[in-house]
């Protein structure tokens, strides 16, 4: 007996809950064979605004967790993806990846989370410092998370790239509002389901789906976003740079045309953590 095809209307993960877009609009997603597969939420600037509010709420609590605890939670997230690796691979194959390449991407994504889980209680030793000064002061530099970071994920290797952009930001206690790939949103939606079952507090990572052109200008101008990371084309770079200059936010934008290789050794680094940190230097008087 033939079955009805079970098509889906998945929801995105924002503020620890699964939401539909504020406008209730969706766009169709087709599988690699061109068959209709799911209706994806078409989020807009209002969803971005709401996601930023959710991230702001979650931020102080996440930043106050001990570094050790943040490491445990990132590791647990990696466990969640590892355990559901087959499902995640299938989501990547849906977008046109070969099964072997999909499996490799999932493995690399899990490894990337483990990598940053290890760094949570170590980057401070590398990036912070006791500074030599020629006066009776104990002078030291410590790092602090910037706040809310906007992430714009590319279409190629959509899972690995998204995780590589999000993980270093949350390692130090930032919160993230990420826009997933428009053409391949399904792995990001699945990632949201895994985030919900990891111990990551709701609102620390918020994932939106939809069209870049409807949200780029809000990413650029929203003054509550403190930094932007992602892979964007020339026009988007310009819009983001202008808005970021106005709202004084830091940008780390890679060029779409450069085709960044997220599997490379250079795609993970303590310096990616540094990109979303503020440094605070303190002069403390000491006796002779």
């Amino acid at each position: 007996m033939s079955r009805l095809p079970i098509t889906k209307t998945p929801k995105v993960y924002v503020g620890g809950a699964f939401i539909r877009s504020e406008s209730a609009r969706v766009y169709p997603l087709k599988d690699a064979a061109g068959e209709f597969y799911a209706n994806i939420p078409q989020c807009t600037r209002k969803d971005l605004r709401n996601a930023v509010e959710a991230a702001a709420k979650a931020g102080p609590g996440w930043a106050k967790r001990t570094a050790y605890n943040r490491g445990q939670i990132l590791y647990r997230l990696a466990e969640m993806i590892e355990a559901r690796g087959g499902e995640m691979s299938a989501a990547l194959v849906l977008g046109g990846a070969k099964p072997a390449a999909a499996a490799r991407e999932v493995t690399a994504s899990v490894d990337r989370l483990i990598y940053y889980a290890g760094w949570t209680d170590k980057y401070e030793q590398v990036l912070g410092n006791v500074n030599p000064v020629a006066a009776p002061y104990f002078n030291f530099t410590v790092t602090e998370p910037m706040g809310i970071v906007g992430v714009i994920a590319p279409d190629s290797t959509p899972l690995l790239a998204l995780i590589s952009l999000v993980a270093p930001a949350i390692t130090s206690g930032n919160t993230v509002v990420a826009l997933a790939s428009t053409t391949q949103p399904y792995p990001a939606i699945l990632l949201g389901e895994m985030l919900a079952t990891s111990d990551l507090p709701g609102g620390v990572v918020n994932i939106l789906t939809g069209f870049r052109k409807e949200m780029i200008s809000t990413f650029a101008t929203h003054t509550h976003l403190r930094a932007l990371g992602g892979v964007v084309n020339a026009d988007e770079r310009k819009a983001l740079a202008l808005g970021a200059a106005d709202s004084v936010k830091r940008t780390h934008l890679l060029k779409t045309e450069d085709k960044p290789d997220w599997f490379a050794d250079t795609a993970q680094s303590v310096y990616a953590i540094r990109d979303t940190l503020e440094f605070k230097t303190t002069w403390h008087p000491i006796g002779a």
Binding site: R49, V52, A56, T221, H222, T223, H224
Partner: protein, 313 residues
């Protein structure tokens, strides 16, 4: 549980003022949130809401300095001169003279003071009246009193009304706001009945107010609607316009716009000004300013660009 005699007096009162259709009220207020407010109306609504704010600080840790800075904020909420001043500052009686010193005598911003043993009201009447007189003598333009909920719930409506009337007398020329403390009245029927009892003894232009902000449940669209409809029915019966002030729990600009929709659709444009409608709030003003700034710049604003936003990081 009500004693039998008080149950009879409640029944008589409900028969007089009419019951409240709880399901109907909740259906109605659920619709208010779905109204689409476009740019021009939104801007007007945000500015009107700013002009309706009773900027409030009612904490044990209030100091003259804190009240003075609150007054500065009331006088000049934002850099943009197009943003109006708020309606009033709302403080404890002991802070009235500090507020008067900060605001000066030649100002449109009024000083409201909670009095009558706020928030419980559980003090002898003599003490409560003395508190009202002292606040007025110190320069309060408006008095926010609490009703005797104990008397109301016991069915002693005469006692409750006599006390309100005594406070009206003690107020002199000061405007009176009667706080019903809706969360302690328990039902919509009671809220409507208490609204009528209060409206019968206060003067035209005096207020009825939802709550103290000191209990778990404060102003909601539902009890706001019950009170607005009581004001409407009272006005249609007697021709006396009574003003309204929801207080507590209104924190976002969006909420305040929804409340204004309720006012417009229930009482009409005559109530859409700060002589007839107020918001008792402390954090609402910052969100209103934030949304006004968003409307003028096009960029969403971080709360920490506005004063006293402790929730940001």
């Amino acid at each position: 549980m009500l004693a039998r005699s008080s149950r009879r007096s409640f029944q008589r009162l409900f028969d007089q003022v009419g019951p409240v259709d709880q399901i109907g009220i909740e259906e109605r207020v659920a619709k208010y949130g779905t109204r689409s407010i476009k740019k021009g109306a939104k801007l007007w609504g945000l500015k009107t809401a700013v002009s309706m704010v009773d900027l409030t600080t009612l904490e044990g840790k209030d100091t003259p300095g804190k009240v003075a800075s609150l007054c500065q904020k009331a006088l000049r909420p934002h850099d943009d001169p197009a943003v109006p001043q708020v309606a009033a500052v709302c403080v404890y009686p002991a802070m009235v003279r500090h507020a008067r010193r900060a605001l000066g005598s030649d100002t449109a911003v009024r000083i409201a003071s909670v009095a009558t043993a706020f928030p419980s009201g559980q003090a002898p009447l003599k003490t409560r009246l003395a508190e009202v007189k002292a606040a007025v003598a110190d320069g309060a333009d408006e008095i926010d009193m609490v009703i005797n909920r104990g008397a109301f719930l016991a069915g002693e409506f005469g006692l409750m009304q006599d006390e309100i009337a005594a406070v009206v007398a003690a107020c002199g020329s000061a405007t009176l706001k009667v706080i019903l403390e809706v969360s302690e009245l328990e039902t919509y029927d009671n809220i409507r009945a208490a609204s009528f009892l209060a409206m019968r003894v206060i003067r035209p232009g005096d207020f009825i107010k939802t709550s103290t902000g000191k209990t778990s449940l404060n102003a909601t669209l539902g009890n706001n609607q019950v009170m607005l409809e009581a004001i409407r029915d009272f006005y249609l019966d007697s021709g006396i316009p009574i003003a309204m002030k929801p207080a507590g729990g209104i924190r976002t600009a969006k909420q305040s716009l929804t409340f204004l929709i309720a006012v417009k659709e229930t009482l009409g444009d005559a109530w859409l000004n700060n002589a007839r409608y107020r918001f008792g709030a402390s954090s609402l003003l910052n969100d209103l300013l934030r949304q006004l700034e968003k409307e003028s710049t096009g960029a969403y604003q971080a709360p920490y660009y506005f004063s006293e936003a402790a929730e940001s990081y």
